[in-house]
Amino acid sequence: MEWAVFVPTAALALAGGVGVIAARQPVHSALALLMVLASLAVSYLLLAAQFIAVLQVIIYAGAIVVLFLFVIMLLHARSGEGPREKLPRQRAEAYVFAALYLGVLLAAALGAAAPLASIAAEFGTAQQVGESLFTTYLLPFELASVILLVGIVAATVLGRRPPEHAGRGKG
Amino acid sequence: MLSLLIFLPLAGAVLLALLPRERQAAIRWAGLAASLATLLVAARLFQIFNPASGDMQFVAHATWVPTLGIGYAVGVDGISLVLVGLTAVIFPLALLGSWGSITERLKAFTMSMLGLETAILGTFLSLDLILFYVFWEAVLIPMAFLIGLWGSENRRYAALKFFLYTMAASVLMLVAIIALHVIAIDGLGERTFDLARLATLSLPPEVQGWLFAAFALAFAVKVPIWPLHTWLPDAHTEAPTAGSVILAAILLKLGTYGFIRFGPTLFPDALLAAAPLLAALAIIGILYGALVSWAQTDLKRLVAFSSVSHLGFVMLGLAALNVQGFQGGLIQMINHGISTGALFLIVGVLYERTHSRLIADYGGVAARMPRFAAVFTVVMLSSAALPGTNGFVGEFLILLGAFRTSAWWAALGAGGVILSVVYLLWAYQQVMHGPLVAKHPDRLVDLTRRELAVFAAIIVMIFAVGLYPRVLLDRSEATVNAVLARLQRPAATAVTVSPR
C-alpha cells in the first residue's frame, strides 16, 4: 500500500529536482522546487514524521519558496546567466564527478539494509519532538535562536541601501 | 606575588588605555610609574628570595584547561630571579631613554612596551610549557609592533623578518611540547604540561635528541646562535632606541634562558651530547660576530653584531656545563643586558641629535660632549670586559668554565676577548676622537639631565656587578648546582615510548 504512495511521490520529486536545475527561467525552477518540497512532505508522512512534514510545508513551501519568488520578481526575473561560459570544461567535469558521487551514495544507501524498527504510535508527533528539543537539545535550540537573530540582523544590514556610495568600490 | 609581578605592567597598559592620547606627559609618566612599580615588586622579590634553596619558590598553580592538563603555573628560582631583576630594571631605563624621541602614537608605544614587559616576565616565570609557549610567542607581537611602527626606513622588512624567523623556529618547539605531552600520557599516566612533572620522565636518548633539537632551534634563533643570527642586525638597526634596548638587553636572553631552563631539566643526555656542537657554534659566533662588527659602517649594526659575539660567550659558558660556566653565562646575560642596552642608548643619543647612524658621519665628538664621552668610555670598557666592570666577571667565569671542559675552547674564546677590544676601540675612535666631523656640530649638545640619570644608573650597575657580583651569584648558585646535578643523573627507569 505504501509503495503506491511512495512511487508517485518519488517520481514527482525526481522530476521536480530535474526541473530545478534544468529550467531556463528562475521562476520555473522555483515552482519545480515547490513540487519537490511537497513530494518530500508526503514522504515524511510515510516515515512517521508528521511534525516535520508540517514544518516542511509551512517553512519551505510557505516561506522560503515565497521568498525566492519575491526576489525573482524584484530582479526582473532575468535569467541572469551571461552569454559566455567562462569555464568550458566545468559542465563535463561536473557530470563525471557527480555520477561517481551518485555511485558512492547509492552504494551507501543500498548497504543500509537494516529493517525498520517498530515504533510507537506517537513517534514523530510534535509532542515527542518538542520534548526532545526542550530537554536533550535545549542548548542547540537556544543557539538556533541566536543564529536566527544573526540572520535577521545580517539581512537587515545587507538590505539597507548604503548612504551615497560610502566605501563601495565598483570593481 | 609572581602573578602580581607579571601582570602589573599589563594592568598599567590597560589603565593607560583610559588616558586621552593628547596628554603625552601624563602617558609618559604613567608608563614610567607602571614599570617602576614592577621594579619595586621585583626588588621585594629579590629581597625575600631564599638563596640557599635550589628549588622553585613562590610557586602558584591554577588550572586553566583541565581537559588537556594545561595549567597556569609560575615560580621563580635563582636563574629566573636574576633575569626578572634585569627585566624590571631595564624597562624603566628604556622608557626614560626614549622619553623625547617618540612623539607619534605615544600611547600605543607605551602600551606596547608594558605589554612586552608582561610577556617577558611571564616567559621567565612560567613553569607550564604551554603557558611558557604562550608568553614566548606573545613577546613577538608587541616587539614586532615596536619595530614596524616606530622604526626607521626599512622597518617593515625588519619587523617581518624578525617575526617570521622567530615564529617559524618556535613552531617546532610547540610540536616538541605536544610530543612531550603525549609521551607523558603513557609515561606518567596523566595529561600534563607541567615542567616539574615532565622532568620526572626519563626519555630514551634518541627521543631526547629530536625533542631537544626542536627546542634548541627555537632558542638558537632567539639567542641568536651563528648562523641563525641574520634577523638580529636588521631588527636592531631598524628598531627605535627603546626597542633595540629591550631586544638586546632582554629578548635575546629568552633564548639562553630557554637553554638553561629546559636543556638540563628535560633533555640531560641530549644536552651532554650536543655540548661540543653548541660550544663550536658559540666560538664561531664569538669570533665571527667580533670580526663582522669591525667591518660595519653603521653604529647600530656594529652593536648588533657585538651582541652576536657576546651571546656567543654566554652559550660557550652554558656549553661548558659546569658551575663556573653556567654562573658566568648567567652573569654575562645580565652584563650584556646592561652594557649593550647602554650602547644602544648611546647610539640613540647620537641619533637623536644628528639623525645618522653612520660611523663616517661622526668624528671628534668627545670634544663637544665630554660627559657623553666619559659615559661612552665606561660602557665600552664594560662591553670589552675590563676587570672591575661587570663584563669581566662574566667573561672570566665563562672562560674559566670553558677551560675546565676544554682548554682549546677557552683559548679560542680568548681570541674573542682580543677582537672585542679591536672593534670597540675602533668604533670609539672613529666616532669620538680625531678632528670634529659632524653634519650639524651645533646639535651635538652634551647629555641632558634625564639622559645623565639613565646612564648614571647604568654605570652604577656596571661597577656594582663588577666589584660585588655576589649579589647575583649567591642567589643563583644553589639553583645552578641543582640544575647541573640533573646532568649527572643516572639514566635509570627509562620509560618505553610506544610508537603510535
Binding site: 569555464l87 566545468q90 561536473a94 564527478f97 561517481l100 558521487y101 558512492v104 551507501a108 | 623578518k161 624567523y165 648562523p227 643570527h229 641574520t230 634577523w231 665571527y288 670580526l291 663582522v292 669591525w294 667591518a295 660595519q296 653584531f305 658551575v323 663556573q324 654562573q327 658566568g328 671628534g364 668627545a366 670634544a367 665630554p370 668610555t377 675590563l386 676587570p387 672591575g388 669581566f392 672570566f396 667565569l397 672562560l399 674559566l400 677551560f403 682548554a407 677557552a410 680568548a414 681570541g415 676577548v417 682580543i418 677590544v421 676601540l425 675612535q429 669620538m432 676622537h433 680625531g434 678632528p435 670634529l436 666589584l467 660585588y468 655576589r470 651569584l473 648558585e477 645552578v480 648546582n481
Partner: protein, 618 residues
C-alpha cells in the same frame, strides 16, 4: 693606595667645577699621601722585616666572587717586594705629578688629565699590592686602560688616538694569554691566591709549570713591550711626555718584570720557560738598542731604550736573579723618568718640536735640563758611579754566571753588545740635541718653570745615588731586603762565582767605549750604521710593517669579507632565499584561485568524494 682613587673620583666627577690649579694640586697631594703611607708601612714593617724579611702580610678585603669551587678574595699583600714597588711607583709618580703641573699648565682639559693620572696610580698600586692574581689582573688591565686613555689624551690628533688603541689591543693580546695562564693555574691548584700559588707551584708537574709560566710570560711581553709585542710602546710616545715618563718608562711597563718576580717560584722551577725569558729579554734588548740608533724622534729613542732596558730585566729574570732585575727596575725608573722629563722640558721649550734633526745647541739655554739629561745618559750607559752602572753590572754578572752554569752565554753576549750600543745611541741623542749649532727651530728656548725643574733635580739625584741601594760597596741594602723573599735558589748553594772584578772592568770599558764612539761618530758626521742596515734599522726591522701586512690588513679584509659576501650574501642570502621560495610557491598557488565559485564547489565535491570513497573502501 686609596688616596689616588679618591683623587680620581673627585677629579673625574667634579673636576670641571674646581679651579684648574686645585685639580692638579689635589692630585699631587693624594699621590704624596700614598707615598707617605707606603713609607709609613715600610717603617712599621721594618723592625719585623729586619729579622725576617720574608714575611708577607696579607690584608683581606672582601670576598669578591665565587662560583662552585672558585672563590676569589680581594686581598692585598704587603711584603718587601710589594713595598719596594709601591715606593717606587708612588715616589716617581709623585714627582711626575708635580712636573705635570708645570708641563700641562696650558692644557684646557686639566682635570681630566689628572683624573686619568690618579686612576693610573690607583691601578698601578693595586697591581703591585695585589694578594690575588685576579686582583693583580684587574690592576694589570686597568693600567692598560689608563695607558690607552693617556696616550690618546689629545684625542683630536688621529695619531694619538690610534696609538692609544694600538697599545690597548697589543696589550690585550698578552692579557688573553695571561688569562689562560690563570685558568691553567686555577685548574691545577684550585686557587689564585699569590702566596698559595707560590707554595704550590713547585709541586706541579714540569709541563704544567712550563706552560703556565710561558703563558704568563706572554702576558708580560705585552705589558713590558718585549718582542714580539713591543710595537705599541714607541707609538705610545704620542701621549703627553710626563705620561711617557711615568707609565711608559718607570712604572707600568715594568709590571711584566714585577709579575715574574712575584711568581718567582713558579718561574724559577720552570727552566724551559726561564730559558725563553732570558733569550727573549736579550734579543729584545739588542733589537731595541739597534733600532734606537737610527731614530730621529727623541722620545722614540727613549722609548726604544726603555724596551731595551726592560729586556735587561728579563735577562736578569732568565738568569735566576730576580733581585737583580728588580734592582735594575728601580734604577731604570729613576734615570729613565729623568730622561723623559728632560726630553719633555726640551719639548716644552721648543714648542713640541721633537725631531732631533731640528734640534741642537740647547745646552746653553737649557742648562739645567741638559745637565739632567747628561746624568741620565751616563746612568743608562752604565758609567760608575751612576745608578745604572750597579744594576746593569749586576745583571751582566748574573748572566755570565748563568752562562757558566748552563753553558748558555747568548744572553750575556747580547747584553754586553747592547751595553755598547746603548752608550752609543744615548750619546748620539744627547749630542744631537744639546750640542752643535743652534737649530732652525730654536726660536726662543726658555728654561722650564720650577715645578718641572724640581722633580728633575730630585730624579737626577736619585739617578746618581740610587745605585747605592744595590751597590756592593754600600752593602747592597736593597738586595738584602729582597733576597730572603724572592729568588731563593733552592739547592744551588755552590754557584760558580764569576771573577767579579774582571766583569766589572769589562762593563765599564764597554760603556766608555760606547760613549767615546758616540762622540766620535757625531764629530765625524758619520752615521753609525750604513746603507741597507740603516734603512733596516730605521724601519725598525720591518716588524711594524710585517704586522700590518700579515695581521692587520688581512684581518680587516677578512672582517670585510665576512660582513659583506658571507654574512649578507650567503647566510642572510639563504634566509631570504627561503623567503623567496615561499613567495614563489605562494604565487604559484595563487593561480589556483580563479575566483569562480563554481570551480571551488567542484573542488569541494571532489574532496568529499575522495573522503567518502576512502571510508567506504577501507
Amino acid at each position: 693606595m686609596v688616596w689616588p682613587l679618591l683623587g680620581w673620583l673627585t677629579n673625574g666627577l667634579i673636576g670641571r667645577r674646581l679651579s684648574r690649579a686645585l685639580a692638579g694640586e689635589l692630585a699631587c697631594v693624594t699621590v704624596a699621601a700614598s707615598f707617605v703611607s707606603a713609607l709609613g708601612v715600610l717603617l712599621a714593617v721594618r723592625p719585623a722585616g729586619a729579622t725576617d724579611a720574608a714575611v708577607s702580610i696579607v690584608i683581606p678585603l672582601f670576598r669578591w666572587l665565587g662560583a662552585g669551587d672558585l672563590w676569589i678574595d680581594a686581598s692585598l699583600i704587603i711584603d718587601a717586594l710589594s713595598l719596594v714597588m709601591a715606593l717606587v711607583v708612588s715616589g716617581v709618580g709623585f714627582l711626575i705629578h708635580v712636573y705635570s703641573l708645570g708641563y700641562m699648565a696650558d692644557d684646557p682639559d686639566l682635570p681630566r688629565y689628572f683624573a686619568y693620572l690618579n686612576l693610573f696610580m690607583f691601578a698601578m698600586l693595586l697591581l703591585v699590592l695585589a694578594g690575588n692574581l685576579l686582583v693583580l689582573f684587574i690592576g694589570w688591565e686597568l693600567v692598560g686602560v689608563c695607558s690607552y686613555l693617556l696616550i690618546g689624551y689629545w684625542f683630536a690628533r688621529p695619531a694619538a688616538a690610534t696609538a692609544g688603541r694600538k697599545a690597548f689591543i697589543v696589550n690585550r693580546i698578552g692579557d688573553a694569554a695571561f688569562l689562560l695562564g690563570l685558568f691553567l693555574l686555577f685548574t691545577q691548584l684550585r686557587t689564585l691566591d699569590i702566596l698559595q700559588i707560590r707554595d704550590g707551584a713547585p709541586h706541579l708537574p714540569e709541563g704544567v709549570r712550563t706552560l703556565a709560566a710561558l703563558l704568563l710570560f706572554a702576558g708580560a711581553t705585552g705589558k713590558s713591550a718585549q718582542l714580539p709585542l713591543h710595537v705599541w710602546l714607541p707609538d705610545a710616545m704620542e701621549g703627553p711626555t710626563p705620561v711617557s715618563a711615568l707609565i711608559h718608562a718607570a712604572t707600568m711597563v715594568t709590571a711584566g718584570v714585577f709579575l715574574i718576580a712575584r711568581l718567582d717560584r713558579l718561574f724559577l722551577t720552570a727552566p724551559v720557560a726561564l730559558f725563553v725569558v732570558g733569550i727573549v729579554g736579550a734579543l729584545t734588548a739588542f733589537f731595541a738598542a739597534t733600532v734606537a740608533l737610527r731614530q730621529y724622534d727623541l722620545k722614540r729613542v727613549l722609548a726604544y731604550s726603555t724596551i731595551s732596558q726592560l729586556g735587561y730585566m728579563f735577562v736578569a729574570m732568565g738568569a735566576l736573579a730576580p733581585v737583580a732585575g728588580i734592582f735594575h727596575l728601580v734604577t731604570q725608573a729613576f734615570f729613565k723618568a729623568l730622561l723623559f722629563l728632560a726630553a719633555g722640558s726640551v719639548m716644552h721649550a721648543m714648542h713640541d718640536v721633537i725631531d732631533m734633526r731640528r734640534l741642537g745647541g740647547l745646552a746653553r739655554p737649557l742648562r739645567w735640563t741638559a745637565g739632567g739629561f747628561l746624568i741620565g745618559v751616563l746612568a743608562i750607559a752604565g758609567v760608575p758611579p751612576f745608578a745604572g752602572f750597579f744594576s746593569k753590572d749586576l745583571i751582566l754578572e748574573e748572566a755570565f754566571a748563568l752562562g757558566l752554569s748552563t753553558g748558555n752565554f747568548l744572553p750575556y753576549a747580547l747584553a754586553l753588545v747592547t751595553a755598547f750600543v746603548t752608550a752609543l745611541y744615548m750619546t748620539r741623542a744627547a749630542m744631537l740635541t744639546f750640542s752643535g749649532r743652534p737649530a732652525e727651530a730654536a726660536a726662543h728656548p726658555h728654561e722650564a718653570p720650577p715645578s718641572m725643574l724640581v722633580p728633575m733635580t730630585a730624579l737626577a739625584a736619585l739617578s746618581v745615588g740610587g745605585g747605592l741601594l744595590g751597590a756592593r760597596v754600600a752593602g747592597e741594602p736593597l738586595v738584602e731586603f729582597l733576597a730572603p723573599l724572592i729568588g731563593v735558589k733552592a739547592g744551588e748553594g755552590a754557584v760558580v762565582h764569576p771573577p767579579a772584578g774582571l766583569l766589572v772592568g769589562i762593563s765599564i770599558a764597554v760603556a766608555l767605549a760606547g760613549i767615546v764612539a758616540g762622540i766620535a761618530v757625531h764629530r765625524g758626521r758619520r752615521d753609525p750604521a750604513l746603507g741597507a742596515i740603516a734603512a733596516f734599522l730605521e724601519r725598525r726591522w720591518y716588524i711594524d710593517d710585517l704586522y700590518d701586512a700579515v695581521i692587520v690588513a688581512p684581518g680587516r679584509a677578512l672582517a670585510r669579507w665576512l660582513a659583506g659576501p658571507v654574512d649578507l650574501g650567503i647566510i642572510d642570502g639563504a634566509v631570504n632565499a627561503v623567503g623567496r621560495v615561499l613567495a614563489a610557491v605562494g604565487r604559484a598557488a595563487r593561480r589556483l584561485q580563479t575566483g569562480y565559485a563554481r570551480q571551488y564547489a567542484l573542488g569541494v565535491l571532489v574532496g568529499t568524494l575522495i573522503i567518502v570513497g576512502y571510508w567506504m573502501l577501507r
